[in-house]
Symmetry: C2
Subunit: 111 residues, 2 copies
DNA sequence: CGGAATCCAAAGCGATACTG
DNA sequence: CAGTATCGCTTTGGATTCCG
């Protein structure tokens, strides 16, 4: 039962793991979307559009697609009229709560 | 001896703490600069310029100033000729190692 | 050596209008 | 309702040159 220790080292990957994580979290509006879903569980496109004041549907749509591609959220379509689409976090997505809390803790130490 | 629990909640600050942290860490090249300093301790401008392949002096200079403003690094000038300037992490800056490790751990779970 | 100044291309994103 | 399409501005940062 070996666990590989995670240490900090240089990585010449085109995409090192730290960078992958940051790319996902730090795109504009991304962590806010994730936070909404952590708090509310499941939300529709319109809910997010309304909850995140200032976001455009274009950007929201783009961010949601990226998060889905990275398995952070799931997208569920209900074949009704009018359409209904729900978004929620995957298990992997929920793991981001810890990171967001760390970022919050650190951010609070900045004047 | 009360400790305020850090919980995830909506924040309508122009700059919520999570966003502050992310702004610092996720600017292009920022976490790489921090990682270099975590590994090497103290580095000169030229060392960083050489170590971070692809960065331009303009961008490096900009990032260093931002990090200094946020008390993540210190800048020490030795009044010599030719000039010598050294950068290293503050105690606050060193605290970012934990966050970078979390980001790495998470990044490794992404395919 | 450690930057600052300039110029420019690319990306990012908001506003808005439109569609299945 | 849940997006997509288009347009144009703003920001970012790379390349390069120059300076104390």
């Amino acid at each position: 039962m070996e666990e590989t220790k995670i240490i900090l080292e240089r990585s010449d990957d085109e995409q090192c793991p730290i960078e992958k994580s940051l790319t996902i979290i730090s795109a504009k509006w991304s962590f806010l979307i994730i936070r909404e879903l952590l708090i509310d569980g499941t939300l529709r496109f319109g809910d997010l559009l309304k909850g995140l004041e200032g976001i455009s549907p274009k950007t929201l749509s783009l961010r949601l697609r990226e998060l889905e591609e990275n398995k952070i959220i799931t997208r569920t379509v209900y074949p009704e009229i009018p359409p209904k689409v729900e978004y929620s976090l995957t298990e992997k997505g929920k793991q981001l709560e810890g990171i967001l809390l760390e970022l919050k803790r650190f951010g609070l130490t900045l004047e």
